[in-house]
Amino acid sequence: MIIIHPLLGPRDSSEFIYKGDAALINRPDWQASDALDQFIDYGYLRDNPAGLHRELWYHEQGDRSWLVVTRDTTTHEITQVELARDVARRQGRST
C-alpha cells in the first residue's frame, strides 16, 4: 500500500506503524461521571467495520508525524490522508 503523505508525498506503508481506529484521538474525559465506562470502551472496544475505516498511522521511518488515513478494509484502497494534528484541531482536541 502507498500512503500519500500530506507533507512528503507517496510513501510505502511499511515505513509506518499502524495504531488503529482514529477514534482513539478522542480520549475520554477522566473526570466524567461515567469515565470508567468510557475508558473501557476507549481501550478495548472497536467498530472494526468492513468498508471505510479512519485509522491512525505513525510515520516512524519518516517525519514521525501521525496521519489519519481513510481506507477501505475490503479492498485496501486509500481515499484520504490527513495530518492527525489537523483532524484533532478540527475536533477541538489540540492547539
Binding site: 506503508s13 499502524y18 488503529g20 473501557i40 478495548y44 472496544l45 472497536r46 472494526n48 481506507r71 478494509t73
Partner: protein
Amino acid sequence: MAYSGFRILREALRGHRGWGPAWRDAAPKDHYDYVIIGGGGHGLATAYYLASVYKQSRIAVVEKGWIGGGNVGRNTTIIRSNYLLEGNEPFYEFSLKLWEGLEQDLNYNAMVSQRGILNLVHTDAQRDAFIRRGNAMILNGADAEFMSTEQIVAKYPFLNVNNARFPIKGGLAQHRGGTVRHDAVAWGYARAADRLGVDIIQNCQVTGLRIENGTCLGVDTTRGFIGATKVASCVAGSSSRIMQMAGMRLPIESHVLQAFVSEGLKPILPGVITFGAGHFYCSQSDKGGLVFGGDIDGYNSYAQRGNLPVIEDVCEGGMAIFPNLGRARLLRSWGGIMDMSMDGSPIIDRTHIDGLYFNGGWCYGGFKATPASGYAYAHLLATDTPHHTATAYRLDRFRTGHMIDEKGMGNQPNLH
C-alpha cells in the same frame, strides 16, 4: 455409511459407485433449538459435540458460502498446546487430547500427524522464558522438552545455527504437536454431525439477528428467516459484523494473515519449526510442499489478501534460518481474516441478550483449538455454564481486568 479399509477394497472392486455424499444438502427449516452461524471448523465441531456429547437435537449450521471456505481451509494446520497461562494451557491441552482421538471418534481420516513442533531460542533470556513455559505445560499434563543445539542439529541438519543475529541456542519441543489436514477437519465434523441429524445449510448468509425485548428469536438469512431458541455466532474474522447486528461492539479487530506453499519436494522437514524472532514458521505437507508463514500484515482488513512487504519479511526470515528454502519455488500465497482480540486470547461466552452466544477472538491460532472450542461452546450452549477448561474466556474480562495476555503486549491487537 461407515468408512473403513474394508469399505475401500469393496468399493475398488465395484468401480467406486457405492459412495454417497458425505453430508446432506439440507434446506432451512422454520425453527431449530440451536442455530450456529458459521460453517468453519469451530461451528461444525460445536454442532457435532452438541449432538454427540450433549445429546441435543434440532441443530443447524448456517454457512454463507461452502463449509471449509474460511480460515479452516486457509490455515497452516499446526496443532500444539504450548501455552504459559492458566486460562489457556488446560484448554489447549484438552484440545490436543481431543485431536489424538478425533479420527476414531469421527470415523474420518483427518491425517492427524504428531510429528512434533520446535520453537527455536536465540538468547539466554528467551531460553529461560521457554523453559518456564515448558514447566507450565508439564504442570498441566502436556509434554515439553528443552532440546539442545546438538539435538536440534541431529534432527534438522540443514538449519543455520550460526546466524549472526539469531544463532540457535536450543529450542522448546512439544513432540505431541504436529499438523492435521485442515479441510478434512471441516469435512469430518460435517459428516459426523450430519449423521447425528444436524442440518448443514450452505449458501445461506446471515443478514440480521432478530431481537425483541432483549431476546434473540432467530436469524434473517438470504434464504429467509430461521427461528431459534439459541443463536450461536461462530464466524471467526467476521465476528464484529455479526455482533454489530445485535448492536454490540467487540474487543476485536479483523486482520489479514498470509500463508505460503512451495512446490512439492521429497521429504526434508520432519517436524514443525518456528523461528518467532524472525517471523517465520514452516512444516512440510504430506504432498511435499513446504507450508510456511509469519506475522499478520498488521492493519484492519477484510480483504482475504495481504501485501508484498510481509511476503518479503517472511521469506527473509525463512532464508536466515532455513537457507535451502531458497532453492524451492513458491507455488501459492493466500490470506485469511483473523479475529485479533485485545489480549490475544479467545472468547466463548453468553451475551447480555438472551439466547445469543458468542465464540471468537481466535487470532492466528484457532485451528488447533477447533475440537476444544466446539466442545466448550457446545457445553455452554447446552448447560448455560462455561466448560471447566474455558472459564477464563469471558466477554467482560476487559472490564474486570482478567486479561489473558500470553505475550504481555497490552490492548494492541496487531502485536499479539
